[in-house]
C-alpha cells in the first residue's frame, strides 16, 4: 500500500468538469443506424402476399390478412403481412427471405402507446410515421437465403438441334431436379394462375423428397397430360412465381416433366388411383384434344362410360398437329393418351360430327362435352394471298406431322408472332431454310412463349418486328414478294395493346421462296345446331358457358380453345376437368 493508492482514486474528480456523455431523449434526437432493424415497412405495390415471411417467422408473429383495397390477382394473393409486435424479435428473417423485397425495416425504434392492441399492425397499410423513413434494414446486396438461379436445363446444342426433329430439351437428372425443387418456397401463389389449378407446391415437394409416386398422384389430380404439359405448357405459373421476382422463377414445367419422365407407362397404374365403381351413365366427348381427353379421364375416374369422337386419325389435337416433334415427341403425347385410353375410355377416330349427329349424340348420351379447338387458320386478309407460294402455318406443321417434307425452298418468310408462327419458322429452319419472321408489333408484344422466341433467335431466325402486311405479289424466279409497311407503335388510349401505325413511305418488299401465314386460328363451330334446337348459345363464335363449362342446355358442356381466352393446352385441361366434375354433379344429382 503506497501513498499513490490513496491519492490516485481522486483522479475521478476530473470528470466533473467534462461534458456529459448522456443524451437528453427525447429533446436530443438519436436516430438509429442506417441498417438499424427498427419498425417494419412494406411496399404494398411490390408485395404479392406470398406469406414466406410468415413461414420463416420463428416467433409466429406474422399473420397473412386480407386488406381493404387490395384486390389480388395475377400472382398477388391479396393478403398482406400483419405483424404482432408482442411477439416480434426484430430478427429480420422476414426481410431477408421476402421474395419480392417489399418488406424492409425503418431505423425507428420508439413507439409508445397505452393500448397493447395497436402493436399488431399491417406495415404499409396502417399508416405509421416511419412509412417513408429512408434508412433502416433491408436485405444486403449479395446476401440471400434463397437460391436465385435456376438449375440449367441440359439441351441439345443449336447445331445439333437443327439437324433433326429430336427433342431439344433433355430433362433434369434426379440431382438437378431435387436441386431445382429445393428453390420453391411453397407459397402457392402459382396455383391460382395455373388454369388447371394444379397442386404445384405439392408435386414440387414430392420431387424434393424423391417421392415420384406421390408426385404422379398429385399431377393426375388435376392434369392427365403431365408428359405433354411438362414439355410445352405455356407455364403462366412461372410468370407469377414468387421466386421470379428477385431471381429466376422455379422451373415448374420442367419439374412436372421430370416426374412424368421417371415413370414408365406400365407403372402408371401403381402410382395412380383406379376408376370408381361403374355408374352406368354414358357421356360423349367431341374432340380428342387435351380438353376432351381430360374431361374423358376424370369422367372415367368417376365411373362413367365415356366415348370420345375425333375427326382426325389420332388424338391430341393441337398437341399433335400444331406442335413440332422437337418440342413434344409423339411418344410422350401417346404416353399421356394411352394411359387415359387404358382406363377404358373409348376413342373413335375419323368421325366428323355435324349438326345432325350432334343432335343424335345429345339424345343417345346422358351428357355431352365438346372441345373441338380452333382448327381453321385465319387469312392474312390482304391482296395476293392466294399466291401458291403462301402456306398456312398449321398446314405446314400438319404435313410435317404426317412425315412429309413441306418443300418450302431456301428462303421462308413467316407472318405472325404466336407459337404457331415460331413452330412453323423453326420447322422450316430444320428443313434448311433461311427463315425470317415478320410481325406487326414489337418482339415484346409477341404472344409466343418467350423461350420459343429466344430459341428461334438462337437458331438463326431473323425477326422483323413492326411489319404491317400490305399485300403479296409475285416476284422474279418463281419467288413471292411480301410487301409490308414499317409501323410505329402508338399507345392505345383505351389501355389495350399498343397500336401499330404505318409510317408513310416506309414500304418494303420481302422476297422469299415461301411465305407462311400464321396470324391466328378460329372455327365456325359447324356442327353446332341453332340455339333454339340445342339450347347452346353462341356469342361471337364462342359457345356461351358458365365457369364450369355448362351451356344453356344443362346436359351439354364445352371447353378448350373454343371457349376460353387463353387458348392453350393447360386451359383446355382445366376446362375439361371442371366440366367433368360439373357433368358428374349434373348426372349424379349431387348438391353443390
Amino acid at each position: 500500500m503506497s501513498i499513490k493508492d490513496i491519492i490516485a482514486p481522486f483522479a475521478v474528480w476530473k470528470r466533473a468538469f467534462e461534458k456529459p456523455w448522456t443524451i437528453k431523449k427525447p429533446i436530443d434526437d438519436r436516430p438509429g443506424a442506417d441498417r438499424y432493424r427498427g419498425f417494419h415497412k412494406n411496399d404494398g405495390d411490390t408485395c404479392i402476399g406470398c406469406g414466406t415471411c410468415e413461414t420463416i417467422c420463428q416467433n409466429a408473429a406474422i399473420d397473412m390478412v386480407p386488406v381493404d383495397g387490395v384486390q389480388g390477382d395475377g400472382g398477388d394473393s391479396g393478403l398482406r403481412p400483419q405483424i404482432d409486435y408482442g411477439r416480434c424479435c426484430w430478427c429480420a428473417l422476414c426481410v431477408d427471405i421476402c421474395t419480392t423485397g417489399s418488406l424492409t425495416m425503418s431505423n425507428r425504434y420508439v413507439w409508445t402507446d397505452n393500448d397493447p392492441d395497436v402493436y399488431r399492425f399491417i406495415p404499409g397499410y396502417d399508416s405509421k410515421e416511419w412509412d417513408n423513413a429512408e434508412t433502416g434494414y433491408s436485405r444486403p446486396e449479395g446476401y440471400s437465403l434463397l437460391k436465385e438461379e435456376r438449375v440449367e436445363m441440359p439441351a441439345l446444342s443449336v447445331e445439333e438441334g437443327l439437324k433433326s426433329f429430336v427433342e431439344m430439351i433433355k430433362g433434369y437428372s434426379a440431382e438437378q431436379a431435387v436441386k431445382e425443387a429445393d428453390r420453391c418456397v411453397e407459397c402457392g401463389i402459382c396455383v391460382a394462375e395455373c388454369p388447371a389449378h394444379m397442386d404445384i407446391p405439392g408435386y414440387i415437394r414430392a420431387v424434393r423428397e424423391g417421392n415420384i409416386d406421390e408426385g404422379m398422384r398429385l399431377l393426375y389430380e388435376t392434369n392427365p397430360f403431365p408428359a405433354s404439359c411438362g414439355r410445352i405448357c405455356t407455364h403462366r405459373c412461372e410468370e407469377v412465381c414468387s421466386i421470379g421476382h428477385n431471381g429466376d422463377s422455379v422451373a415448374i414445367r420442367w419439374l412436372k416433366r421430370y416426374i412424368a419422365d421417371q415413370v414408365e407407362l406400365e407403372d402408371y397404374g401403381k402410382a395412380l388411383p383406379r376408376p370408381e365403381e361403374n355408374t352406368g351413365k354414358k357421356i360423349a366427348v367431341i374432340g380428342a384434344g387435351p380438353g376432351g381427353l381430360t374431361a374423358a379421364y376424370y369422367l372415367r375416374m368417376l365411373g362413367h362410360d365415356v366415348a370420345v369422337l375425333e375427326a382426325r386419325k389420332a388424338g391430341g389435337g393441337m398437341l399433335r398437329y400444331g406442335i413440332p416433334e422437337y418440342r413434344l415427341p409423339y411418344d410422350q403425347l401417346d404416353k399421356d393418351i394411352e394411359y387415359i385410353r387404358g382406363l377404358g375410355v373409348e376413342i373413335r377416330y375419323s368421325i366428323n360430327v355435324d349438326a345432325e349427329s350432334f343432335k343424335n349424340l345429345e339424345k343417345d348420351y346422358d351428357a355431352l362435352f365438346f372441345s373441338t379447338g380452333l382448327s381453321d387458320p385465319y387469312k392474312l386478309g390482304i391482296d395476293g394471298e392466294d399466291n401458291p407460294r403462301v402456306f398456312g402455318g398449321l398446314a405446314v406443321l400438319d404435313e410435317v406431322t404426317a412425315g412429309k417434307d413441306p418443300k418450302l425452298g431456301k428462303t421462308v418468310g413467316v407472318i405472325g408472332g404466336g407459337n404457331v408462327a415460331m413452330d412453323a419458322a423453326r420447322t422450316a429452319r430444320r428443313y434448311g431454310a433461311e427463315v425470317t419472321v415478320l410481325y406487326r408489333r414489337r418482339v415484346v408484344d409477341m404472344p409466343a412463349d418467350i423461350e420459343e422466341i429466344e430459341e428461334a433467335a438462337e437458331e438463326g431466325i431473323t425477326i422483323i418486328p413492326q411489319a404491317i402486311p400490305l399485300r403479296v405479289e409475285d416476284a422474279a424466279d418463281g419467288k413471292v414478294g411480301f410487301v409490308w409497311n414499317m409501323a410505329e407503335m402508338v399507345d392505345d388510349p383505351d389501355g389495350g395493346r399498343p397500336r401499330p401505325q404505318p409510317i408513310k413511305g416506309e414500304i418494303h418488299t420481302f422476297v422469299c421462296d415461301s411465305l407462311i401465314s400464321a396470324v391466328g386460328q378460329g372455327t365456325n363451330l359447324p356442327y353446332l345446331p341453332e340455339e333454339s334446337e340445342s339450347g347452346v348459345a353462341v356469342k361471337r363464335y364462342k359457345p356461351v358457358v358458365d365457369e364450369r363449362g355448362q351451356t344453356g342446355n344443362p346436359g351439354i358442356f364445352a371447353g378448350g380453345d373454343i371457349v376460353n381466352s387463353r387458348k392453350d393446352a393447360v386451359s383446355a385441361i382445366g376446362d375439361g376437368h371442371a366440366a367433368a366434375l360439373s357433368i358428374d354433379r349434373f348426372l349424379m344429382k349431387k348438391e353443390a
Binding site: G86, L93, G142
Partner: protein, 393 residues
C-alpha cells in the same frame, strides 16, 4: 391482453434439505438475489452465515430459464439463428458464431474468407464490450460505482459500432449460417478506431484509479484465490484459469477463425506478474481488454476483400446430414461451446450450449464462498465472471 397462467396448476414448492440447525441461533440464512447479485443477470445465492462469515453457499438458478435448447429442437436450422444470441445477453456473438460454424461444419459449407475475418473481428469486439461491462460490475461490487458508469458509457459506444455494423445493439443477429449478414458499412472501420482510442483512454483512467486504490487492494488482494490444482477438477477455464498461471486459451490452442494469423500471446497471471486473487484476475482481464483492442486493430489492418456470404440451400427446406459436432471458442469467461446433433432432418436433433459460467458459478463458487465475508460475496462472484443466462439457457 396477455393472460396469466393458472397458478392453481402448480404445486407449492416443498423445500430442499437443511444441513444447518438454524434453531441453534448460530446460523442465519440470507438470500442474496435473485435481483442483482452482481450486474449480469438474475441468480440467487442461498447463504448460511455465522456472524458475517459465510459457512455455506448454494447457487440457485432458474430465473432465466427460457428453454432455448428445447426450442431449438422444434425450429428449422435457420430459425434458430435469431434465438441463439439470446442465450448470453452480454456476449451474444459467441452463440451466433458457434451455432453458425457448427451448422456449417455439419452441412459441409465453406464460407468466404472475408466473412471469417469479420466474424473474428466481431468476436473480439464482443469480448471487449463484455469485459467493459464486467469491469464496471467488478468495481461496483466493491462500491466503486463511478467506474461502472465509465465502462457502461464505453460499452454503449461499442454498442453503437455493433448497431452500425449489424443493425442491432444487443442482439446482433449478424453471424448467420453461410457467413455474415452484410458487409462492413462505409466508414465503419474508422469509427471503430476512434472508439478504441476512447476506450483506451478510459482504460488508462480506470487502471489509475482502480489498480492504485487502497480500498480495492484492501478488499481484493488475497480474496478468492484459485490455485492451479483447482483448475481441472473444478472445470475452470478462461481468465479464471489463466490468472492462476495455467496457459490455456482456445484462441491459441485451436486457432479457430483467423487467430493463427494474428499476433498475440496467452496472458497468464505469471506473464503479467499478478496473483490469482480478485485483484490479479481484474488486472489480467484489463490486460486482455488491451489485447482485444490490439487484435481488432490488426484485423482492420489486414482485412481481406471479397464476398461475405454464401447462400445455403433454400433455408425453408434445409436439411443437414446426420452427424454431431462440438465447437468451442474462447469467450471472456472461458470455454464457450456448442454441441450440435443432426438426425438429417430440417431441425436440429439436439443443441447443447456449454457456458463457462456453469462450472464457475455453481461448483467453483459454492466451493470458494465458505469462509469469506458476506460483504465480499458479490465481489467474489463477479470476479469469477459469471453470466447466469448461459447457465440455465
Amino acid at each position: 391482453m396477455t393472460q396469466m397462467p393458472d397458478r392453481e396448476k402448480f404445486p407449492v414448492h416443498t423445500g430442499g434439505v437443511e444441513n444447518f440447525d438454524l434453531e441453534s441461533g448460530r446460523y442465519m440464512k440470507v438470500w442474496q438475489g435473485p435481483q442483482h447479485p452482481g450486474v449480469t443477470g438474475n441468480m440467487a445465492l442461498e447463504l448460511v452465515t455465522s456472524g458475517d462469515e459465510i459457512v455455506d453457499l448454494k447457487t440457485h438458478v432458474g430465473y432465466l430459464h427460457r428453454g432455448f435448447e428445447k426450442l431449438m429442437e422444434r425450429r428449422k436450422w435457420i430459425q434458430n439463428f435469431p434465438l441463439v444470441c439470446r442465450i448470453c445477453v452480454p456476449e451474444p456473438d459467441f452463440n451466433e458464431y458457434l451455432y453458425a460454424a457448427a451448422t456449417e461444419e455439419l452441412a459441409g459449407i465453406e464460407i468466404p474468407e472475408r466473412a471469417v475475418w469479420i466474424r473474428t473481428l466481431n468476436l473480439e469486439m464482443a469480448r471487449l464490450t463484455s469485459f467493459l461491462m464486467w469491469l464496471g460490475g467488478q468495481a461496483g461490487a466493491f462500491g466503486m460505482g463511478t467506474i461502472g458508469q465509465w465502462t457502461v458509457t464505453m460499452r454503449d459506444f461499442m454498442l453503437d459500432l455493433f448497431e452500425e455494423l449489424t443493425g442491432g445493439r444487443i442482439y446482433h443477429m449478424y453471424i448467420v449460417p453461410g457467413g455474415v449478414r452484410g458487409d462492413v458499412p462505409q466508414g465503419w472501420f474508422s469509427h471503430v478506431l476512434t472508439t478504441l482510442k476512447n476506450v483506451e483512454k478510459v482504460l488508462d483512467d480506470i487502471e489509475l484509479v482502480l489498480f492504485n486504490n487502497a480500498v480495492f487492494k484492501k478488499r481484493a488482494v488475497g480474496l478468492g484465490v484459485i490455485t492451479p490444482d483447482m483448475v481441472d477438477y473444478y472445470g475452470i477455464t478462461g481468465p479464471n484459469a489463466r490468472a492462476s498461471g495455467v496457459a490455456r486459451d482456445i484462441r491459441k490452442d485451436r486457432s479457430y477463425l483467423i487467430y493463427d494469423k494474428l499476433d498475440f500471446d496467452i496472458i497468464t497471471g505469471i506473464s503479467i506478474g499478478v496473483d490469482s486473487d480478485i485483484f490479479g484476475r481484474t488486472r489480467l482481464r484489463a490486460a486482455e481488454m488491451r489485447q482485444s483492442i490490439s487484435l481488432i486493430r490488426q484485423m482492420i489492418d489486414k482485412m481481406p476483400e471479397g464476398p461475405v456470404h454464401v447462400s445455403p440451400p433454400n433455408v425453408l427446406h434445409w436439411k443437414i446430414p446426420a452427424g454431431e459436432t462440438y465447437l468451442s471458442a474462447e469467450c471472456t469467461r472461458g470455454e464457450y461451446g456448442y454441441y450440435i446433433v443432426s438426425d438429417g432432418s430440417d431441425k436440429p436433433r439436439r443443441v447443447y450450449v456449454r457456458g463457462p459460467s456453469y462450472t464457475h458459478a455453481v461448483a467453483l463458487f459454492e466451493h470458494m464462498a465458505p469462509g469469506t465475508n458476506i460483504a465480499d460475496t458479490a465481489g467474489l462472484m463477479v470476479s469469477l465472471h459469471t453470466y447466469p443466462p448461459e447457465i440455465e439457457r
